[in-house]
Amino acid sequence: MPNPLRRLLAPHSPVIERDVTSVVLDDGRQVEIQRVRNPRARRLRLSVDERGARLTLPTRASLKSGERFLEDHRTWLADQLARYTLTGLPTLQREVTTSLPLRGTMVPLRWSAGRFTSLEFDAATGELDFRLPARAGEAAMRRALRDFYEGQARADVGRWMPRYLPTLPRPPRRVVFKVMSSQWGSLAPNGVVALDLALVLARPAAFEYVLVHELCHLLRADHSRAFWREVELRCANWREERDYFHAEGRRIKATLRTLLSC
């Protein structure tokens, strides 16, 4: 027979609730705010990054208190949005886009009609060729772009990896590419290396540094001095690449997100 008291005392699994609210700034602009109710949150928190603004509420905070908090910090929010909003990001529009970012540069793009959707690099002309059938939709176009970027990223990793394998205790189980929100890469305990697909838009030296960083975690599963010594042995200029990510990282991630979202 079920015990109602036990059911009452059992801890609830945390549920994160998300919705969208809006606030009118001093200049009359209405901006959308992602509102997240997170049981792990201890206080109200308003944060801004290149993806927009986010209001985090603890479980017991009322929506009213959240709105008041937003009202109180309108000026700060406007300043941060101005600081973090990235402009001039490339977009993918059929027959309109003339170049696409790849390996730190913009590569010319031409559009042509084809029997199936594909994006290929024409080494002879140094141009990208986007072939699309008339009926292909946005999703097919963006999928082809994603596949193209993944192919290019795999080509880079395939070229660099053999150089580092002999000095590692074991090879990674496999390398997967994902669109990551804040990380550039990670190494799972089972040996799978996950890399951010946006790395293929960064300069190649920076991409290689992230790969080296994750491979070095096969030697040291921490960020100790010993770990950084291993990184330094394989990638002497890792500090420059880290600075590059600090300066350009947000733009690179935002670029990929813009290109791949319908």
């Binding site: 199936f116 596949d147 590692l168």
Partner: protein
């Protein structure tokens, strides 16, 4: 013993495998112990009566990883546990707590393990030293990775990585079905799988279907891409190539098996030897066709 599915890994061709046999002997399969759940190790590719743990022809080496797993269904354990708990409740007038239940369950597993059936299993692998290629006869990535881990455990170091295509495989497969030239020797089969570009989009699976007809053409025009494609290599091998680069339904056709008919069938070992030689040759030939077509990365610096 023909492989049915091929999961491919690449390793540097410079790898020294001269002590392979002795290293494999150290990691031979031991019978699963009374209180063990499973055991894994190398077995002879020629079966129980075989003496060696590897067999080489030219630059191809044949290995077999054997497994022994105890079959202990969770339902059996849970049923016995429920009965025991009932008994205790009747005797003591209270239900045992969580910790006691866990201990009871562990005791039950220990009691049942020595009586459990043992399921033997075996996964074959082919090492192609010329291409630096490890082919595992499994379509399961996990099972294939387990075989590679076992080889790594035996050799101490085995830097094998899953094959890496430098182009999007689904784009290449879609191109072949849409009329782009196929690599020399390859021809289209009659089976394919098409997926919509959107995540969790529509999936179309075709069997016994003309792949270059209008019906497939309409799907391609709508933006679907090929994720699995049946192909034939020189009327010798038929297979289904997936976007995950796993070769499934690998089958030697009459053109290839004809060569085998003339061999002496009296000697089992000679028969297996001939079959392995034939299969290794066809698998290597297939790889040499797929390698440039899919721009597969090498593992050598």
């Amino acid at each position: 013993m023909f492989f049915r599915n091929l999961t491919l890994f690449r390793f540097p061709t410079s790898l020294d495998l001269s002590e392979l046999e002795s290293r494999l002997a150290e990691c031979a399969l031991k019978p699963v112990g009374a209180l063990e759940i499973s055991s894994r190790g190398f077995v002879s590719p020629f079966g129980r009566d075989g003496e060696t743990l590897s067999h080489g022809i030219s630059d191809a080496i044949w290995l077999s990883v054997g497994t022994e797993e105890k079959i202990l269904p969770g339902a059996v354990v849970n049923d016995l546990l429920a009965r025991k708990l009932e008994e205790i409740e009747k005797k003591e007038g209270r239900k045992p707590g969580g910790r006691a239940r866990k201990r009871l369950k562990e005791d039950l597993v220990h009691e049942l393990l020595p009586r459990a059936f043992v399921r033997p299993g075996r996964t074959d692998a082919l090492l192609d030293l010329g291409h630096g290629l490890c082919i595992v006869d499994s379509s399961s990535r996990k099972a294939a990775e387990n075989v590679v881990s076992e080889i790594r455990h035996a050799l101490g170091s085995f830097p094998a990585l899953p094959v890496n295509a430098e182009v999007a495989p689904r784009s290449v497969l879609t191109g072949w079905i849409a009329g782009e030239p196929l690599p020399e020797g390859l021809s289209l089969g009659d089976e394919c799988e098409l997926k919509d570009a959107a995540d969790k989009g529509a999936v179309v699976k075709c069997q016994r279907q003309e792949l270059q007809g209008d019906e497939i053409g309409k799907h391609l025009e709508a933006g679907k891409q090929v994720t699995r494609l049946a192909l034939t290599l020189d009327d010798h091998v038929s297979f289904v190539l997936g976007e995950d680069l796993v070769v499934r339904k690998f089958k030697l056709l009459d053109g290839a098996v004809d060569a085998l008919e003339s061999t002496d069938r009296d000697d089992m070992r000679a028969e297996l030897d001939a079959r392995f030689a034939l299969m290794a040759a066809e698998a290597k030939r297939l790889f040499s066709v797929l390698e440039p077509a899919l721009k597969l990365s090498r593992a050598d610096d």
